[in-house]
Amino acid sequence: MSSVAQKKGFGATLWDWLTTVDHKKIGILYFLGGGFFFVVGGIEAMLIRWQLHKPNNDFVSAGLFNDLITMHGTTMIFLAAMPILFGFMNAIVPLQIGARDVAFPFINSLGFWMFFFGGLFLNLSWFFQQVPDAGWTSYASLSIASEGHGVDFYAIGLQIAGGGTLMAGINFLVTIINMRAPGMTYMRMPLFTWTTFVASAMILFAFPPLTVGLFFLTFDRMFGGNFFDHTMGGNTIIWEHIFWIFGHPEVYILILPAFGIFSEIFSTFSRKRLFGYPSMVFATVLIGFLGFMVWAHHMFTVGLGPTANAIFAVATMAIAVPTGVKIFNWLLTMWGGSIRVTTPMLYALGFIPSFVMGGVTGVMQGAAPLDYQLHDSYFIVAHFHYVIVGGVVLGILAATHYWWPKMFGTLLDEALGKVTFWFFFIGFHMTFLIQHWLGFWGMPRRVWTFMDGQGWNSANLISTIGAFLMAIGVIVLVYNVIITSVKNVKVANDPWGDGRTLEWAIESPPIYYNFPATPLVRGLDTVWIEKMEGNETGLTPAEPIKDIHMPNGSIIPILMSFGLFIAGFGAMFRTEESWGLPVLIFGLLWTFVAMAARSLQDDTGYYVKKDEILRDLKRKGGQK
């Protein structure tokens, strides 16, 4: 295998991408898959807002509206935000810790394909005209009563995608624990790596409850179980507990990597070491732990009683403390820094006020008595969009601009990037700020339409206009991506000029073995330290150049995931079609055969020869 760029046919390129175990390519696959579902979820959002732009609108039917809100939420959380963040983790974290790949490249690929087939399964519901309609939370009484196969698509699709997520989380944990370059102690890890680490640990503990809950739901709906049926001795409230024991950590799994992204951006474009690095690490870990202790604040109105409500209210407010530590650290990172307002920095600057607003409304809802007023109103909708869009999506867009050169080798147009930002930012606040008042004025969430004369008309219209501004922002971004890719102007190692972490010391995009020689890490922001000491390459090698062991690609992950995809259809149609049970068994057998094939094959990978590495280095102008 040669690293010299060769023209390959379409078939060979496709095969290369389907079988890849390279973390950089899997990162791009996650990014593209997540980006696709982000657009799908965005279109659903536009339809929702169009339906609500005037009173008594009948643009969509009530049933279709339920489908749209359910799929919008589920798609955006599970199929857009998480995969895109996984894309950045895959593409960047191994580079930041000086590793050549993740710990388990095969499992990495399996995780991606399980996400992909799970997402595909969920979205095929649109073609079957039986779409999940019990909300993204899928509360049990409603989801058990839901007719057709809608909720079955939800339960099985998320089960498959969730398995992929769990694998990805474990993979990152092992990678960060075991594959750090010499000198990269825990307290020298870049903050994006730290937040990935904590988010992965949260995945490890939070996704098993989701798996259990979804299995209960699957059994209740498809195999005659009674876990949530109170007439048969089940407990319908237990779904809410299980869901939120998963669901609350889930929102921190989303926001922590975004925090990491912004920490990198603040420090890079303020040209300063991140202020209070140890306290940032501590705050990240603390948020990760407290995230498991607050799930019942989603259930204050269920009737848990004053003791539970009070304890969970206090625990919820405690999370504001480490989050506040982070906010002040970012502000103090900028303080006295030599700030450059690039597009990523613009997003970071917009993030602070937006996310603080979302956090403050979160504390308001954390006060249990007030939550009785706010529960299930548009105030809630406003709050979680402020944290998810104002935090996670701004983080994703910032990282898209920031790491685009590292992932694709080109720099997105800065002027267009700023246009995207302003459309998106103004649109975002226009859409969701007014929804706080809509909540106060009594508009319940998840309503299909509303009647005239309640004082909600103009607020809803403003909200809809804002949503379309956000859509314009995203369209400008897509245009930006297309023209940048067409122009294809390659950039150097560190196009921002102020890179501090290891990924900026190697070419964009990095060669498939990342580092010719594993780097020696001499402190936090090691590349910055090297540059300040006059080492222009930004790297000190920790070892001589020698043969590199690399994993072979494999088609098996895609086959394994496809078996589960087939089995999902079998499980769903088991009772009503004669082919259901055989297909279920066939799909599972398919997966087991694929697993056996993997277990029995003796694939020890291959070596990149020292000569070839030296050739690559010479081609790039020699090693300094």
């Binding site: 944990l173 640990a201 732990f289 498991f292 019942a296 848990l304 539970a308 043969d547 070596y607």
Partner: protein, 115 residues
């Protein structure tokens, strides 16, 4: 293939390695006997209770058996799965975090959520 490096131990290193493995073997055997002993005691207590021997009440035996079980889990993890050796800090941290969460969440249910 990369060059295979052959590393020859010095006599002192060899001795140290031998002493260490001897000690490890002794520990393993000791712990194994201890675990068998604990299992025997547990079974004997239950048999004694079944046979109606005075002094072996349910309220004595159940906590005792649970306690022995906990000790056995600890021995299993620390000796037979080598958690007592160096380089197991991170797995320990994750296990204890998991155990803490697995304890706290059910505790929440039985103390403040359901009653």
């Amino acid at each position: 293939m990369a060059d295979v490096q052959v590393y020859k131990r010095t006599p002192a290193e060899q001795q140290l390695a031998q002493r260490r493995s001897k000690k490890a073997m002794r520990d393993q055997v000791m712990m194994f006997s201890l675990m068998i002993f604990l299992t025997l005691v547990s079974f004997s207590m239950v048999v004694a209770y079944e046979a109606g021997v005075a002094g072996f009440s349910k309220y004595l035996i159940i906590p005792m058996v649970m306690l022995f079980a906990a000790v056995q889990v600890g021995l299993q993890l620390y000796y037979f799965m080598h958690m007592s050796e160096k380089g197991h800090g991170i797995p320990q941290m994750f296990m204890y975090t998991g155990a803490l969460l697995g304890f706290l969440i059910p505790l929440t249910f039985v103390t403040i959520v359901w009653w």
